[in-house]
């Protein structure tokens, strides 16, 4: 896996339960072994503006982890207080992914919570670049998507890619 190239996608949704459907579809692809992800998270923004990580699926499809059972890479990208609402499971220590050894505090959660309006949702995923087309077609209800390449295997590169994807969500 060391040679695998990764992309980060941030997708925004007008309708939270349609975001949930896309998330579930992505999880099903992983279960069917048609997709591997380093991490995926669904964030909903309540009508009062409170962001909540609804689901996570870090290292879905990897040996030793169950779907949705871990709190790892993607959730780790979210800064407190967002994390306060997440129940951290024991599986976190079992992370074996490329980026897992890094602690990446990008502040992305706060940024996403601030960027997405109340009553909407966002999905973030890190996945094998060769499956970009699969991911794109899976997230059918996203009204906006931004993708960035992760140039390297470290936290710095991941953070840069996240920043690029985040920037791509701005503007019109």
């Amino acid at each position: 896996m060391a040679d695998t190239e990764f992309d980060v996608i941030i997708a925004a949704y007008l309708i939270p339960d349609l975001a949930q459907e896309d998330f579930d579809a992505m999880v099903r692809l992983v279960a069917d072994k048609r997709l591997e992800v380093e991490g995926v998270a669904l964030v909903t923004i309540a009508t009062d503006g409170t962001p909540t990580v609804q689901q996570t699926g870090d290292h879905l499809g990897r040996k030793g982890l169950t779907i949705g059972g871990g709190v790892g890479l993607v959730v780790g990208l979210f800064a407190p207080p967002l994390l306060a609402s997440v129940v951290v499971g024991g599986a976190a220590g079992a992370l074996v992914g490329r980026f897992a050894k890094h602690k990446v505090d990008s502040g992305l959660g706060e940024k996403l919570g601030a960027a997405l309006p109340p009553g909407t949702a966002g999905l973030i995923a890190i996945y094998d670049r060769s499956k970009a087309d699969v991911v794109d077609k899976t997230l059918v209800s996203a009204v906006k998507k931004s993708v960035a390449e992760v140039d390297g295997g470290g936290a710095k590169e991941l953070k840069a890619a996240l920043a690029e994807a985040q920037a791509g969500m701005g503007g019109g």
């Binding site: 007008l14 009508t47 997405l116 309006p117 009553g119 909407t120 009204v143 906006k144 019109g172």
Partner: protein
Amino acid sequence: MCSPTRAALLTGRNHHAVGMGGIPEFSGGFPGYSAMLPRDAAPFPKILKENGYATAGIGKWHLTPEKEQGPAGPFNHWPNAWGFDYYWGFLAPEAGQYDTMISENQKIIGVQEGRDGKPFYFPEAMTDQAIDWLHGVRGHDAEKPWMLYYSTGCSHAPHHVAKEWSDRYKGQFDQGWDKLREETFARQKALGVVPADAQLTPRDAEMPAWDSLSENSKRLFAHQMEVYAGYSENADHHVGRLLESIEEMGELDNTVVVWIWGDNGASLEGTPTGTFNEGTMVNGLPLTDEEQMQLTLKWGGLEAWGTEMMYPHYATAWAWAGNTPFQWGKQVGSHLGGTRNPLVISWPDRITDAGGLRSQFTHATDIGPMLLDIAGIPQPDLVDGIAQQDFHGFSFTDTFADPNAPEHHTQQYFENFGNRAMYKDGWWLAMRMPRTPWRLDPALLAKFAPGVWDPDADPVELYYLPDDFAQANDLSATHPEKVKELTTLFWEEADTYHIKPLLAGFSPFFGILPPLGANSKVTYYGNVQNIAPGVVPRIYNHSYTISADLLIPESGAEGVIVADANHLGGFTLYVEDGKLKHTYAFLGVFEYRQVSTESLPTGEVNVELVFAADEAKPATPGQVTLFINGKPVGGGRMDHTVPFRVQRLLRHGHRIRRRPRRRPELRPQGTVRVHRHRPEGRL
């Protein structure tokens, strides 16, 4: 369309005959489209006023030429001159319901505060004003008759209403517009308001089938209709408040209430996807489905649809569903969907057939003659010494007692932005031009430019309404002689009532504008506020300069120098953190910001913004340069500019603050000057 129908209603004459063939924003140098009420067409409120009635107009107006909506007047086309002793409302074609720019009599007084500590909301405020006026009249004179013109902003865009109202309709439109139309039609038949043999007309291909939509679209669109429904019910609630107040005064039984509901057919102007900002359509900016979704997200998602963050309008096909069982809607004057609205008249003392239905053909021009007939006032031959045009409408008071009374209004033309119809003795010739109401973009309009479009070359439709309530069966192929007769009659009417030149209501889009005048420099002294869109220096599509003299104290200052409109279209030139800043909102789609590279000095300071257009053309890109005391201090490129108009009023100077001030408020020392370059241009 708003202005033509209002003009016809208030004057009793055909809209072109009183200069309102189009709307005041598109007024041009043609008699039928001047937006200037002629002196030979006194409105019926003026006649009532001159015959002892107290009169008031409350709410939307949209009948005053834009260029006259300022302190310099003239005021002979403002509401008071139309015969209203008192006016309170907005002059514009539409207005945000939370921050409405209010006019009172002959002055724009700007955004008002809500009562009792509550936020301002126009439907509530206008009703309070109407009730206050009634109480005042009765408190002054126990017997004097009165006439109130109560004209809501609803259900015109923007669809602004509190969530508690739209939530009442949650889930009620999930079935979509196709099904809603069938349900409505069945209910109409059950109520008997359409004949049992009426046929439901099909959806035009310009509007998508509900089942063809993505789930995303269905959810967004259903919410648009929930907001529209809540907005409409809210207006109905306030109408109820008004009627209750009349009842409380003990006068409801002897009050004639004429209730007309609709936007001359529900409005198709929201584009097939609905829009977060109706201003994009008004400015001819086509947006894709994807862009509309993204911009909806940008400005707050579904939760913000109905709030001041947007200027929303629902999807076209909801309007079509609202016009069940007819075809088309607002702007499409060729068909009943764009012309036929429900009319209810209540007068408990004299109309005993409560709930009865009447089917005689009536027109907006009939309302004035009918009310004067009730009041026992004949149409005056002279008003203010001016010989008057005859009313073009007819009283229909005989239908109150007799459901089978003869039809008096047997012939009527219709024309709106090129869509035409001719009605005579039950026959209806529909002459629709091949333009959808939600498109004002230059590429499409070029097809209808003078000398390009032959209106008689388009297909027509012929209906016989006594047998075909909904215009479902086109008889043009089998009755060519009737088509010819009605076509000829329409053009005769066109000569009589100043309909020609056809499409003069679009003359600004074809570069035919009234003279702008030689004055290309405007100077604002002191505290000038609330300048109407038509009076704002026309900086669109040209190079321009804004120059201001400031006095900055030693402790510094910040604040707005000049601002026009808001985040959905407009600009602000301001001082913040010691820097000169400029923000330009391109209709909520793009924002451009420039910040000076240097701080403002203290003392007397001149600042300037220079926009250098690439060329004088609609929506021109250009370069902004900021100056402090004549020295360039930064700037930036603007790739898009608003070509036609923003929806709000220009304000200037010290009343505006972007946030609680931290420093002494900036005050222009004396003047702000706006200079539109190239005054010969007419874009």
